[in-house]
């Protein structure tokens, strides 16, 4: 779709910290349905990589193909120097933390964690398991059955059970989905810590953008079996290249506009008869018809008549104001009927603006991005903000 992968010829690291994972031209069909469509990705060794997307986007299928639980219809999967495309799951140097954990109900915690070691014929199962249980702070629970543990504890067992095998790549399939919000935040930090400690490659599948942004150092946003955009969380958020990414990762105000010229590093726009400016580097469109995008928190809201110099601006009327503590969320109706949202910090001492007030919206041109207008402006927006 766009800015895809970095080079597939990245140097192969075999030193302790896991191995590069290459997914090359992989397609997976279920009947006539293409779950994964000619996907190419390289996940560098030692990174915490997140596959982010709505349900049905092919992220879990991708993960299962890496784990060996699903066979690609076409393409190759390479871990380090080894082509594992058609290898059985138990012959791959990867381990998985399953969605809702899949702990063996008939085995106690110790035996659950020891399972992989026993298969690979480790000499010192006892000490290794004890050390691992120590790491996840579950030493006292070794002889309990999984059902006797809380959700957070089960989650840690699932991580321990996978991690103890020192895989080249650890796969996490919505690992925190079953936990409540508070515990989830705590586990996010915990997982990040563990990843930094052991330094192996983590591939994390999730539909929760906040979770992905908190933990991962690289995120690939997937949609309809393909990667829409890949990069560091901040890069993705600040500079989305498709409407899908702009809407799925946070919220965006997209306003129809026209690219009228580029001079040096600056581009000029015509938006509903109004001239605006933006950096050329943030134009992601071959055509002049564009969606002009601004994140809601980048827009400032002022009473009509306030002078705004050197910024892009437009007039509007407040239709709704919700005070939510850290900020106030406004809906503002623009002269041509479109509504945009603004997250405004509560810096003023006068209290929020009320519905019906005439206002002017203004923002730094450097925060503007432009996307090809042939895309659906609502792509990726079905997801309700703050889902779950």
């Amino acid at each position: 779709m766009s800015e895809q992968t970095t080079s597939t010829a990245a140097p192969v690291s075999t030193s302790g910290g896991g191995a590069d994972l290459h997914i090359v031209d992989v397609t997976k069909r279920f009947g006539s349905f293409k779950a994964v469509d000619d996907l190419t990705l390289t996940i560098p060794a030692g990174s915490f990589f997140a596959l982010l997307g709505p349900s049905g986007c092919g992220k879990t299928t991708t993960l299962r193909m890496v784990a060996g639980l699903e066979e690609p219809s076409a393409g190759r999967i390479v871990i380090g120097n080894e082509d594992v495309t058609h290898k059985k799951p138990y012959k791959r140097p990867v381990n998985t933390v399953f969605q809702s954990y899949a702990l063996f109900p008939h085995l106690d915690i110790f035996e659950n964690v020891a399972f992989g070691l026993r298969r690979s014929g480790s000499k010192d199962v006892r000490n290794e398991v004890e050390a691992m249980l120590e790491l996840v702070e579950l030493s006292t629970y070794a002889r309990r059955k999984p059902t006797q543990l809380s959700g957070g504890q089960q989650q840690r067992v699932a991580v321990a059970r996978a991690l103890i095998n020192k895989p080249e790549v650890l796969l996490l399939d919505e690992p925190l989905g079953a936990l409540d919000l508070k515990l989830r935040r705590q586990m996010q930090i915990e997982l990040k810590r563990i990843q930094t400690d052991v330094g192996i490659t983590f591939v994390h599948v999730t539909h929760d953008q906040e979770e992905a942004m908190t933990m991962a150092d690289t995120i690939a946003v997937m949609n309809a079996g393909q990667v829409e955009q890949m990069g560091a969380p901040m890069e993705l958020y600040e500079n989305p290249v498709t409407t899908f990414v702009a809407n799925f990762l946070g919220q965006s105000n997209l306003i129809k506009g026209e690219l009228t010229g580029k001079t040096g590093g600056d581009a000029s726009l015509l938006v509903q008869g109004q001239r605006m400016a933006m950096p050329t580097a943030r134009v992601h469109s071959e055509r002049d018809e564009v969606w002009v995008g601004v994140r809601p928190e980048k827009m400032q809201i002022s009473r009509a008549g306030t002078a705004v110099e050197g910024e892009n601006s437009m007039a509007g009327v407040v239709t709704d104001a919700s005070y939510i503590g850290v900020s106030t969320q406004y809906l503002v109706k623009l002269p041509w009927g479109q509504e945009v949202s603004i997250f405004s910090q509560n810096l003023s001492t006068e209290g929020p603006l009320g519905a019906g007030e005439d206002v002017v919206l203004h923002w730094n041109p450097a925060h503007t991005f432009a996307l090809d207008a042939s895309q659906d402006a609502d792509a990726g927006a079905e997801k309700v903000e703050g889902d779950e």
Partner: protein, 331 residues
């Protein structure tokens, strides 16, 4: 979650188990020994039975052998069976009616039990399930004869029924003498004036009792699968408890009701034990007739044609079920 493979027509089989390390012939290898056994000792005998029903000969007369010839199929066996067991004495109809009443009683008794185990039992669930099958472990002949004690003329149960006038009512339920012979199913009433034992009611109760687990277990299996939140949602949407049951619980448990009915009604229609142990001497059912023709008379062809008549009822009922619901829910 994302992109689960479209489930194959009626196959609950797991995609991964298949995609990893199994060959196309594996299921057939697993199936063949058991299915071969069922083919040899269920399917072929049934065919032999049909063949026997069109043969001539007797086990105790002549040289004790039977002749089957495609050119002279002995349809007369069926004529005999019908004139003897449908027209002259309504044993065939009676067996079906007894089985029908017993099935309805089974459903009425088993449903609250299965419902309680599925939804209300909590930590007692496993224990209750054990209790449902526990009576299986005492000889069913002994349990059936135990009803002779429970229903004996001087027992508390019968005394109670007599003093409340129930027996009079039940005794009055009969097929009037003026009706033709083939309708004389309860010529002397459901019970006697002052006794239950050796009356149709005792036989029906015995059948109900013996087949109760076969109704309870399929019912439980299908009730257990119902998400309790569906019932809660129904009450949340202004259904009374009864309406919620009628509109949500019962329709969802129908597979169990039907499976239980199939497992109760037809086997009950052929049961010889209850009529023999609890019924009057002259109150025999299809099971007793088949048994007697085989064992006492040696008229295998006649007995076989009676069996085939029962099989026709079974096959019809199962076929009706399969046409509506397919075969996946059967086992």
């Amino acid at each position: 979650m994302s992109a689960a493979p479209a489930p194959g027509a009626a196959a609950p089989a797991d995609d991964v188990a298949r995609s990893v390390g199994t060959k196309a012939w594996t299921p057939y290898a697993l199936l063949s020994p058991g299915m071969l056994w069922l083919a040899i000792f269920f399917l072929i005998p049934t065919v032999m039975l049909a063949r026997m029903s069109l043969s001539s000969g007797s086990a105790f007369a002549g040289d004790g052998t039977f002749t089957f010839s495609v050119k002279s199929l002995q349809w007369g066996n069926y004529g005999d069976a019908i004139s003897k067991y449908v027209i002259d004495s309504p044993i065939f109809q009676k067996s079906l009616i007894y089985a029908l009443i017993a099935t309805v009683l089974c459903l009425a008794i088993a449903y609250p039990l299965a419902y309680t185990i599925a939804f209300k039992a909590g930590r007692w669930r496993n224990l209750l399930l054990v209790l449902v099958i526990a009576p299986f472990f005492t000889s069913f002949l002994l349990r059936t004869t135990a009803w002779s004690t429970i229903l004996s003329d001087s027992s508390v149960v019968v005394q109670f029924m007599e003093s409340t006038g129930m027996l009079n009512v039940l005794h009055a339920i009969n097929t009037p003498d003026s009706w033709p012979t083939w309708t004389q199913i309860f010529p002397d009433g459901l019970t006697g004036e002052n006794r239950v034992l050796q009356t149709p009611l005792a036989v029906i109760l015995g059948i109900t009792y013996n087949f109760l687990p076969f109704m309870t277990l399929p019912l439980f299996a299908s009730l257990e699968r119902i998400d309790i939140r569906l019932i809660e949602a129904a009450t949340d949407l202004y259904s009374s408890a009864f309406t919620a049951f009628r509109k949500v619980t019962f329709p969802l448990s129908l597979p169990g009701v039907v499976a239980g009915t199939l497992l109760t009604f037809i086997p009950a229609a052929g049961d010889p034990v209850n009529a023999a142990l609890l019924g009057a001497a002259n109150d025999s059912l299809m099971g007793n007739a088949i048994d007697a023709q085989f064992k006492a008379t040696g008229n295998y062809p006649l007995a076989a044609s009676l069996s085939v008549m029962l099989m026709v009822v079974i096959v019809t009922m199962v076929a009706l079920y399969v046409r509506r619901a397919g075969t996946e829910e059967l086992v």
